[in-house]
């Protein structure tokens, strides 16, 4: 019965839920879904993490390569982040090159990482002008059920935290390279950026409702172009606020969003740290 109602009167159905202050999966407006995080499960990658935020599943794998640094920036390494939305993660996508939406997500994620300055590209340089690390981070979405950016950032940061760089010997005379995989050092990570997504729903014209950690269906109901508001924090500083589409925000909404994001950030930080500590004790 409910399914039919949802299909025939999607907007009314959704409004009914909102008016009794509940969401379709039983959450409150400001409640986020359960997060499950697992690191280093993929051995072929140099570092990896699997994140499940509710149904949304993202796998992040890091591959290391070596290259000559750019002539303009001889002391910087490379950090290449890409978000893949393969056709299997949702019926919205078709096989082939990345859709416009995938590119937008890709850009948002890479901007957040860049702005948070959590990785100093200088740390990735081995010998200036000669050799530098290229860190390829591929975030693959296996199941797309909303709040993709949050999941991507968690997966990416968790795998950064576990990334170990092998030691490299570069002989300047012979230009010979030797890599020692047994000696590895941690990559320095400055802070722990976390993103929080909201859907902004305009309920009966004037009332603006913020839905924390929206599902795919909720995102669809609020404009259909992913989450409307993404707030990212790193070390107590904001490192990116994106507001696109959905309802318009008043000052109060804005304050509320920032407050919620702060809370969420603390919770997520706890998860990541717990996960990494667990790893430490188990080894």
């Amino acid at each position: 019965m409910s399914e039919v109602y949802k299909l025939i009167h999607p907007v009314k159905h959704f409004n009914d839920y909102i008016s009794i202050k509940t969401r379709l999966d039983g959450r409150n407006f400001d409640e986020h879904r359960n997060i499950k995080l697992n690191v280093n499960s993929i051995k072929t990658a140099d570092a990896s993490a699997v994140v499940k935020c509710g149904n949304t599943t993202v796998v992040c794998g890091i591959k290391l390569e070596l290259a000559v640094p750019k002539a303009e920036e001889p002391d910087l390494g490379f950090l290449i982040t890409n978000v893949e939305l393969p056709a299997l993660c949702s019926s919205k996508y078709r096989p082939g090159p990345p859709s416009d939406y995938a590119q937008v997500i890709n850009n948002i994620v890479s901007e957040i990482i860049k702005n948070s300055k959590c990785i100093d590209l200088k740390d990735l340089c081995i010998v200036p002008d000669k050799l530098a690390w290229v860190v390829y981070c591929d975030m693959v979405c296996i199941d797309h059920d909303g709040s993709l950016v949050d999941a991507c950032i968690i997966a990416l940061i968790a795998s950064f935290k576990t990334l170990l760089l092998p030691s490299v010997n570069y002989d300047t005379e012979t230009e010979e390279i030797k890599v020692e995989t047994n000696e590895r050092i941690n990559l320095k990570i400055h802070g722990l950026p976390v993103a929080t997504s909201f859907a902004v729903y305009e309920h009966f014209q004037s009332q603006i409702i913020l839905l924390t950690d929206p599902t795919n269906y909720e995102e669809e109901m609020c404009g259909g172009n992913g989450s409307n508001l993404i707030i990212s924090y790193n070390k107590g500083l904001l490192c990116g606020i994106q507001k696109l589409g959905g309802g318009s925000l008043s000052t109060e909404n804005n304050e509320e969003a920032i407050r919620l994001a702060e809370q969420h950030t603390i919770a997520v930080e706890k998860v990541i740290n717990a996960c990494l500590e667990g790893k430490g004790t188990n080894k």
Partner: protein, 375 residues
Amino acid sequence: MRDTCLSNCEKNFIQKIVSQGHRLDGRNFNETRKLDISFGSEYGCCIVSLGETKILSEVTCEVAQPKQIRPNEGIIFINVELNPMAAPQFEANRQTDLTVYLVRLLEKCYKDSKCIDLESLCIVVEEKVWSLRINIKVLNHDGNLTECASIATLASIAHFRRPDFTRDGDRVIIHTLTEKDPIPTVLYHYPVCTTFALYSNDILLTDPNFLEESVCTSNTEEGINTAGGLLVLGMNQYREVCLLDLTGAAIYTSNIVHKALLSAADKCKKYVEIIKNAVAKDDNLRQKREKINFSDIITTEHMLALSRKDLNIQLKHYDVTELDEKDEEMFSDEDDIKPEPSKYDVVATVPNTAELKSKEGKSEWIEVSSDSGED
């Protein structure tokens, strides 16, 4: 590309007034529209408008590997883009016959005529050369794209300057524009294309607009082309022909080509002078450290233009340090009020895994059906 419709009335009307010696916009047969060249703030960037036809041209350069058969020559790459901005019938990011045609004509005119000194673009033989990319973007398509595009190309090449470099042993250092003055490109001669619309095989219309172009290349109701076509001639300032291209009907007599050539030679020479003057004038201004920018094309005299210089607003001036303190206080207050217990538990279950779960089993299944809305 969506089709543009041309009504029979329009067709017949244009045909008729041309045969009577008139043009729709009141010009003479050999009169061109107003030419205007404006340069952007960067070298090699210009907007050329020929009447309402507007084209943006930009030359950029990068270091590339030379082709194996020509190890000491630079590379020129011409790209033409027609997007919905030019006219609604064009689709974005799709090559059409028109773009291919334009690229080919421009390549013939500027690459095949060898007007650019390619050897001067060489940095290290067989390893590094400059690769110039000429990007032509049609902003508004009101006929005679070829002529406008060719003027834009020539103007931007003449205006373009590439960074200087010095060789230090094996290494090549490329200097920024502020370190060393950039170098202009060497041009042996200045070829320009001109277009004539051919009507009933004896009338030549200089600089046809969009309507005139479409009428002369379209078919009549009977499906026969009425001896109309487009004749493109490329010539340099020495009255040498670099390019000749005819689309549409066959020409009965060669006289008409002679006639066109004579008229084209004068026109091209005039164009080349205008371009040279424009570049020289721009160079002069730049040497006087005057800012040149595309914002100059917005003429304030235009009826639909508006300019506001004094956009002032009075705002409270925040003293940042003061504010910070206050906020900190506020925050500490807040912390006292609500050390809200986290609703979530962090569980480290399996090795390498952590989980965040909401404490209470909140996920009660609540369903709303259509009846409940009426409660």
